[in-house]
Protein backbone atom coordinates (compact mmCIF):
# COMPACT_ATOMS: atom_id res chain seq x y z
CA UNK A 1 0.00 0.00 0.00
CA UNK A 2 1.31 3.40 -0.99
CA UNK A 3 0.62 6.81 0.54
CA UNK A 4 -1.02 9.38 -1.76
CA UNK A 5 2.02 11.63 -2.16
CA UNK A 6 5.81 11.56 -2.17
CA UNK A 7 7.82 13.28 0.56
CA UNK A 8 9.06 15.80 -2.01
CA UNK A 9 5.48 16.69 -3.00
CA UNK A 10 4.35 17.21 0.59
CA UNK A 11 7.41 19.33 1.41
CA UNK A 12 6.90 21.41 -1.73
CA UNK A 13 3.31 22.16 -0.64
CA UNK A 14 4.20 23.07 2.95
CA UNK A 15 6.43 25.44 4.93
CA UNK A 16 6.69 25.03 8.69
CA UNK A 17 7.80 21.62 9.94
CA UNK A 18 6.47 20.06 13.12
CA UNK A 19 8.59 17.23 14.43
CA UNK A 20 7.73 14.48 16.83
CA UNK A 21 10.65 13.98 19.24
CA UNK A 22 11.08 10.30 20.12
CA UNK A 23 11.85 8.65 16.79
CA UNK A 24 12.34 11.47 14.30
CA UNK A 25 14.91 13.33 16.43
CA UNK A 26 16.37 10.68 18.70
CA UNK A 27 15.74 7.34 20.34
CA UNK A 28 14.91 8.61 23.84
CA UNK A 29 15.03 5.28 25.63
CA UNK A 30 18.22 3.99 24.00
CA UNK A 31 20.17 3.52 27.24
CA UNK A 32 17.46 3.85 29.90
CA UNK A 33 14.97 1.33 28.49
CA UNK A 34 11.27 2.23 28.34
CA UNK A 35 10.30 -0.90 30.32
CA UNK A 36 12.50 0.27 33.19
CA UNK A 37 10.67 3.60 33.19
CA UNK A 38 7.31 1.80 33.07
CA UNK A 39 8.40 -0.16 36.15
CA UNK A 40 9.38 3.08 37.94
CA UNK A 41 5.86 4.39 37.30
CA UNK A 42 4.26 1.15 38.56
CA UNK A 43 6.38 1.53 41.67
CA UNK A 44 4.68 4.89 42.34
CA UNK A 45 1.27 3.23 41.88
CA UNK A 46 2.14 0.37 44.23
CA UNK A 47 3.32 2.84 46.86
CA UNK A 48 -0.20 4.29 46.67
CA UNK A 49 -1.76 0.83 46.97
CA UNK A 50 -3.24 0.91 43.49
CA UNK A 51 -4.40 -2.43 42.16
CA UNK A 52 -2.64 -2.75 38.82
CA UNK A 53 -4.46 -4.78 36.13
CA UNK A 54 -2.52 -7.43 34.24
CA UNK A 55 -2.18 -5.53 30.96
CA UNK A 56 -0.64 -2.56 32.80
CA UNK A 57 1.49 -4.86 34.95
CA UNK A 58 3.11 -6.28 31.81
CA UNK A 59 3.21 -3.06 29.78
CA UNK A 60 6.68 -2.04 28.57
CA UNK A 61 5.51 1.41 27.47
CA UNK A 62 5.48 3.98 30.30
CA UNK A 63 2.71 5.88 28.48
CA UNK A 64 0.42 2.87 29.05
CA UNK A 65 1.00 3.22 32.79
CA UNK A 66 0.45 6.98 32.67
CA UNK A 67 -2.79 6.62 30.69
CA UNK A 68 -4.03 3.93 33.09
CA UNK A 69 -3.28 6.17 36.07
CA UNK A 70 -5.43 8.92 34.59
CA UNK A 71 -8.44 6.55 34.53
CA UNK A 72 -8.31 6.16 38.33
CA UNK A 73 -9.91 9.55 38.98
CA UNK A 74 -7.10 10.67 41.30
CA UNK A 75 -5.54 13.75 39.66
CA UNK A 76 -2.85 14.07 42.34
CA UNK A 77 -1.61 10.56 41.66
CA UNK A 78 -1.64 11.24 37.90
CA UNK A 79 0.49 14.32 38.56
CA UNK A 80 2.87 12.25 40.67
CA UNK A 81 3.27 9.56 38.00
CA UNK A 82 3.73 12.24 35.33
CA UNK A 83 6.44 13.88 37.48
CA UNK A 84 8.19 10.54 37.90
CA UNK A 85 8.07 10.02 34.15
CA UNK A 86 9.49 13.49 33.56
CA UNK A 87 12.36 12.74 35.96
CA UNK A 88 13.09 9.50 34.09
CA UNK A 89 12.96 11.25 30.72
CA UNK A 90 15.43 13.87 31.94
CA UNK A 91 17.85 11.04 32.69
CA UNK A 92 17.01 9.15 29.49
CA UNK A 93 17.75 12.01 27.08
CA UNK A 94 21.36 12.16 28.26
CA UNK A 95 21.81 8.69 26.77
CA UNK A 96 19.47 9.16 23.81
CA UNK A 97 20.78 8.17 20.38
CA UNK A 98 20.44 10.86 17.70
CA UNK A 99 18.39 9.72 14.71
CA UNK A 100 20.59 9.55 11.61
CA UNK A 101 20.32 12.75 9.53
CA UNK A 102 17.78 14.36 11.90
CA UNK A 103 20.24 17.16 12.58
CA UNK A 104 20.75 17.62 8.84
CA UNK A 105 17.01 17.92 8.30
CA UNK A 106 16.68 20.46 11.12
CA UNK A 107 19.62 22.57 9.96
CA UNK A 108 18.65 22.41 6.28
CA UNK A 109 15.04 23.35 7.08
CA UNK A 110 16.29 26.27 9.15
CA UNK A 111 18.60 27.37 6.35
CA UNK A 112 15.65 27.20 3.96
CA UNK A 113 13.72 29.56 6.23
CA UNK A 114 11.19 26.99 7.41
CA UNK A 115 10.01 27.48 10.99
CA UNK A 116 10.46 24.37 13.14
CA UNK A 117 8.57 23.21 16.21
CA UNK A 118 8.51 20.02 18.24
CA UNK A 119 5.21 18.38 19.12
CA UNK A 120 5.79 15.49 21.46
CA UNK A 121 4.23 13.43 24.22
CA UNK A 122 7.58 13.58 26.02
CA UNK A 123 8.18 16.17 28.69
CA UNK A 124 9.09 19.66 27.49
CA UNK A 125 11.97 19.84 29.99
CA UNK A 126 13.54 16.62 28.70
CA UNK A 127 13.23 17.73 25.08
CA UNK A 128 14.78 21.11 25.92
CA UNK A 129 17.62 19.35 27.74
CA UNK A 130 18.38 17.18 24.70
CA UNK A 131 18.26 20.10 22.26
CA UNK A 132 20.50 22.15 24.49
CA UNK A 133 23.08 19.37 24.84
CA UNK A 134 23.17 18.94 21.07
CA UNK A 135 23.30 22.70 20.35
CA UNK A 136 20.02 22.58 18.42
CA UNK A 137 17.87 24.88 20.57
CA UNK A 138 18.34 27.92 18.35
CA UNK A 139 16.70 26.19 15.38
CA UNK A 140 13.40 25.46 17.14
CA UNK A 141 10.70 28.10 17.45
CA UNK A 142 8.64 26.12 19.95
CA UNK A 143 8.61 22.93 21.99
CA UNK A 144 5.14 21.60 22.69
CA UNK A 145 5.60 18.76 25.14
CA UNK A 146 3.28 16.60 27.21
CA UNK A 147 0.43 18.46 28.92
CA UNK A 148 1.08 17.90 32.62
CA UNK A 149 -1.01 15.19 34.28
CA UNK A 150 -3.43 15.18 31.37
CA UNK A 151 -2.77 12.16 29.14
CA UNK A 152 -6.06 12.73 27.32
CA UNK A 153 -4.59 15.97 26.00
CA UNK A 154 -1.63 14.18 24.39
CA UNK A 155 -1.52 13.21 20.72
CA UNK A 156 -3.72 11.82 19.09
CA UNK A 157 -5.56 14.83 20.55
CA UNK A 158 -5.04 17.55 17.93
CA UNK A 159 -4.59 20.31 20.50
CA UNK A 160 -0.76 20.05 20.79
CA UNK A 161 -0.48 20.19 16.99
CA UNK A 162 -2.76 23.24 16.86
CA UNK A 163 -0.66 24.81 19.58
CA UNK A 164 2.53 24.23 17.57
CA UNK A 165 0.99 25.58 14.37
CA UNK A 166 -0.03 28.67 16.29
CA UNK A 167 3.48 29.03 17.76
CA UNK A 168 5.02 29.19 14.28
CA UNK A 169 2.32 31.62 13.10
CA UNK A 170 1.17 29.26 10.39
CA UNK A 171 -2.07 28.21 8.81
CA UNK A 172 -2.63 24.52 9.69
CA UNK A 173 -2.81 23.49 6.03
CA UNK A 174 0.69 24.90 5.38
CA UNK A 175 2.30 22.84 8.14
CA UNK A 176 3.58 19.29 8.01
CA UNK A 177 4.02 16.99 10.99
CA UNK A 178 6.69 14.31 10.80
CA UNK A 179 6.03 11.48 13.23
CA UNK A 180 6.58 7.76 13.66
CA UNK A 181 3.33 6.83 15.43
CA UNK A 182 -0.21 6.45 14.17
CA UNK A 183 -1.19 8.90 16.92
CA UNK A 184 1.00 11.55 15.23
CA UNK A 185 -0.79 11.04 11.93
CA UNK A 186 -4.21 11.07 13.61
CA UNK A 187 -3.40 14.28 15.51
CA UNK A 188 -2.12 15.96 12.33
CA UNK A 189 -5.24 15.03 10.38
CA UNK A 190 -7.55 16.22 13.14
CA UNK A 191 -5.65 19.51 13.32
CA UNK A 192 -5.82 19.95 9.56
CA UNK A 193 -2.07 19.75 8.89
CA UNK A 194 -0.28 17.51 6.43
CA UNK A 195 1.77 14.58 7.70
CA UNK A 196 4.78 12.49 6.81
CA UNK A 197 5.08 9.11 8.46
CA UNK A 198 8.58 8.24 9.62
CA UNK A 199 8.58 4.48 9.11
CA UNK A 200 11.72 3.45 10.95
CA UNK A 201 10.60 -0.10 11.67
CA UNK A 202 9.13 -2.92 9.57
CA UNK A 203 5.34 -2.73 9.41
CA UNK A 204 5.20 0.96 10.18
CA UNK A 205 4.88 1.93 6.53
CA UNK A 206 1.51 0.17 6.26
CA UNK A 207 0.29 1.27 9.69
CA UNK A 208 1.15 4.94 9.08
CA UNK A 209 -0.28 4.85 5.56
CA UNK A 210 -3.50 3.31 6.87
CA UNK A 211 -3.67 6.03 9.51
CA UNK A 212 -3.75 8.56 6.68
CA UNK A 213 -0.17 9.79 6.29
CA UNK A 214 0.24 11.96 3.19
CA UNK A 215 3.69 10.50 2.55
CA UNK A 216 6.10 8.02 4.08
CA UNK A 217 9.85 8.23 4.57
CA UNK A 218 11.95 5.34 5.81
CA UNK A 219 14.83 7.61 6.79
CA UNK A 220 16.00 11.18 6.55
CA UNK A 221 18.95 10.48 4.26
CA UNK A 222 17.04 11.52 1.14
CA UNK A 223 15.28 14.48 2.72
CA UNK A 224 17.96 17.11 3.19
CA UNK A 225 18.75 19.56 1.90
CA UNK A 226 17.28 19.83 -1.64
CA UNK A 227 13.66 18.84 -0.86
CA UNK A 228 13.53 21.28 2.02
CA UNK A 229 14.21 24.39 -0.03
Amino acid sequence: MNPPYTVAQVLADTGPILLDFDGPICAVFATLPDHAVAEQLRHVLRAHHVEIPHHVQTASDPFDVLRFTATLGTPQLTARVDDQMRAAELVAVDGATPTPYAREVIVAAHEAGRPLAIVSNNSTDAIARYLDAHRLTRYLTAIIGRPHANPAGMKPDPEPVRHAVHAVHADPATGVLIGDSTTDIEAARAAGTRSIGYANKPGKRDRLTNAGADAITEGFNGMAPSHLR
Binding site: P98, R103, E104, V105, V107, E111, H134, F220, A224
Partner: protein, 138 residues
Amino acid sequence: MALPCLAETQADDLGVRQRAERITRRHTDAIVEAVRELGDLGLVKNAKAEVRVHRAAPLFKLYILNGEEVFFGFYPVVEHTVTIDGKPVAIYDPMGKDAILFHRALSDDETSDAAQYVQQARTWFDSMWSTIARDYTP
Protein backbone atom coordinates in the same frame (compact mmCIF):
# COMPACT_ATOMS: atom_id res chain seq x y z
CA MET B 1 41.24 19.64 12.44
CA ALA B 2 39.14 21.55 14.99
CA LEU B 3 37.33 23.38 12.19
CA PRO B 4 35.55 22.59 9.93
CA CYS B 5 34.11 19.61 11.80
CA LEU B 6 31.00 17.47 12.19
CA ALA B 7 28.34 19.47 14.04
CA GLU B 8 26.81 16.56 15.93
CA THR B 9 30.04 15.32 17.52
CA GLN B 10 32.24 18.41 17.03
CA ALA B 11 34.79 15.89 15.76
CA ASP B 12 37.30 15.98 12.92
CA ASP B 13 36.12 14.02 9.88
CA LEU B 14 37.94 12.92 6.74
CA GLY B 15 35.07 13.78 4.38
CA VAL B 16 34.60 17.23 5.92
CA ARG B 17 38.34 17.89 5.75
CA GLN B 18 38.54 16.78 2.12
CA ARG B 19 35.72 19.17 1.25
CA ALA B 20 37.62 22.05 2.87
CA GLU B 21 40.76 20.93 1.04
CA ARG B 22 38.92 21.13 -2.31
CA ILE B 23 37.77 24.66 -1.52
CA THR B 24 41.31 25.69 -0.50
CA ARG B 25 42.69 24.15 -3.68
CA ARG B 26 40.13 25.94 -5.84
CA HIS B 27 40.90 29.36 -4.33
CA THR B 28 44.68 29.06 -4.28
CA ASP B 29 44.70 27.73 -7.86
CA ALA B 30 42.68 30.77 -8.94
CA ILE B 31 45.17 33.15 -7.32
CA VAL B 32 48.20 31.38 -8.76
CA GLU B 33 46.59 31.33 -12.22
CA ALA B 34 45.73 35.02 -12.08
CA VAL B 35 49.26 35.99 -11.05
CA ARG B 36 50.80 33.83 -13.78
CA GLU B 37 48.49 35.41 -16.35
CA LEU B 38 49.61 38.91 -15.35
CA GLY B 39 53.17 37.84 -16.17
CA ASP B 40 52.25 36.00 -19.37
CA LEU B 41 50.35 38.99 -20.71
CA GLY B 42 53.27 41.24 -19.86
CA LEU B 43 51.13 43.39 -17.59
CA VAL B 44 53.77 43.10 -14.86
CA LYS B 45 57.47 42.53 -15.37
CA ASN B 46 57.90 39.67 -12.93
CA ALA B 47 55.06 37.64 -11.49
CA LYS B 48 55.44 34.87 -8.95
CA ALA B 49 53.00 33.23 -6.56
CA GLU B 50 54.03 31.04 -3.65
CA VAL B 51 51.54 29.14 -1.55
CA ARG B 52 52.23 27.66 1.84
CA VAL B 53 49.69 26.07 4.18
CA HIS B 54 49.47 25.43 7.92
CA ARG B 55 47.40 22.91 9.84
CA ALA B 56 45.71 25.30 12.25
CA ALA B 57 42.00 25.89 11.77
CA PRO B 58 41.15 28.94 9.65
CA LEU B 59 39.54 31.54 11.91
CA PHE B 60 40.12 34.76 9.98
CA LYS B 61 41.49 36.12 6.75
CA LEU B 62 44.37 38.53 6.48
CA TYR B 63 45.67 40.24 3.36
CA ILE B 64 48.95 42.17 3.42
CA LEU B 65 49.64 44.30 0.35
CA ASN B 66 53.22 45.35 -0.37
CA GLY B 67 53.93 45.08 3.33
CA GLU B 68 52.10 48.39 3.79
CA GLU B 69 48.41 47.71 3.79
CA VAL B 70 46.46 45.15 5.78
CA PHE B 71 42.92 43.84 5.39
CA PHE B 72 41.53 41.68 8.19
CA GLY B 73 38.21 39.83 8.48
CA PHE B 74 36.79 37.41 11.04
CA TYR B 75 35.36 34.02 10.06
CA PRO B 76 32.30 33.37 12.22
CA VAL B 77 31.51 29.67 12.72
CA VAL B 78 28.18 28.68 11.20
CA GLU B 79 26.34 25.39 11.02
CA HIS B 80 25.04 24.28 7.67
CA THR B 81 24.09 21.15 5.84
CA VAL B 82 26.31 20.15 2.95
CA THR B 83 26.37 17.08 0.77
CA ILE B 84 29.42 14.84 1.13
CA ASP B 85 29.63 11.59 -0.84
CA GLY B 86 25.95 11.97 -1.70
CA LYS B 87 24.84 12.25 1.93
CA PRO B 88 23.71 15.30 3.88
CA VAL B 89 26.13 16.29 6.64
CA ALA B 90 25.66 19.08 9.18
CA ILE B 91 29.00 20.78 9.73
CA TYR B 92 30.43 23.66 11.70
CA ASP B 93 32.17 25.76 9.11
CA PRO B 94 34.23 28.96 9.23
CA MET B 95 32.34 31.43 7.05
CA GLY B 96 34.37 34.07 5.25
CA LYS B 97 32.02 34.96 2.43
CA ASP B 98 30.27 37.90 4.06
CA ALA B 99 33.13 38.96 6.31
CA ILE B 100 33.71 42.70 6.62
CA LEU B 101 37.35 43.52 5.92
CA PHE B 102 38.99 46.02 8.24
CA HIS B 103 41.66 48.15 6.60
CA ARG B 104 44.87 49.55 8.11
CA ALA B 105 47.78 51.17 6.27
CA LEU B 106 51.19 52.53 7.23
CA SER B 107 50.06 55.76 5.62
CA ASP B 108 47.08 56.14 8.00
CA ASP B 109 46.89 59.11 10.38
CA GLU B 110 49.89 59.13 12.72
CA THR B 111 47.69 59.30 15.79
CA SER B 112 46.16 55.91 14.97
CA ASP B 113 47.59 52.49 15.80
CA ALA B 114 47.62 51.54 12.10
CA ALA B 115 51.41 51.36 11.74
CA GLN B 116 51.68 49.05 14.75
CA TYR B 117 48.81 46.98 13.40
CA VAL B 118 50.50 46.50 10.03
CA GLN B 119 53.81 45.65 11.73
CA GLN B 120 52.18 43.07 13.98
CA ALA B 121 50.29 41.54 11.06
CA ARG B 122 53.53 41.17 9.13
CA THR B 123 55.29 39.67 12.12
CA TRP B 124 52.48 37.17 12.56
CA PHE B 125 52.44 36.26 8.86
CA ASP B 126 56.22 35.82 8.65
CA SER B 127 56.25 33.68 11.78
CA MET B 128 53.60 31.34 10.35
CA TRP B 129 55.30 31.26 6.95
CA SER B 130 58.70 30.36 8.36
CA THR B 131 57.70 27.90 11.08
CA ILE B 132 54.67 25.64 10.82
CA ALA B 133 53.74 26.30 7.19
CA ARG B 134 54.72 23.91 4.42
CA ASP B 135 54.79 24.14 0.64
CA TYR B 136 51.50 23.73 -1.16
CA THR B 137 52.42 23.19 -4.77
CA PRO B 138 49.50 23.24 -7.19
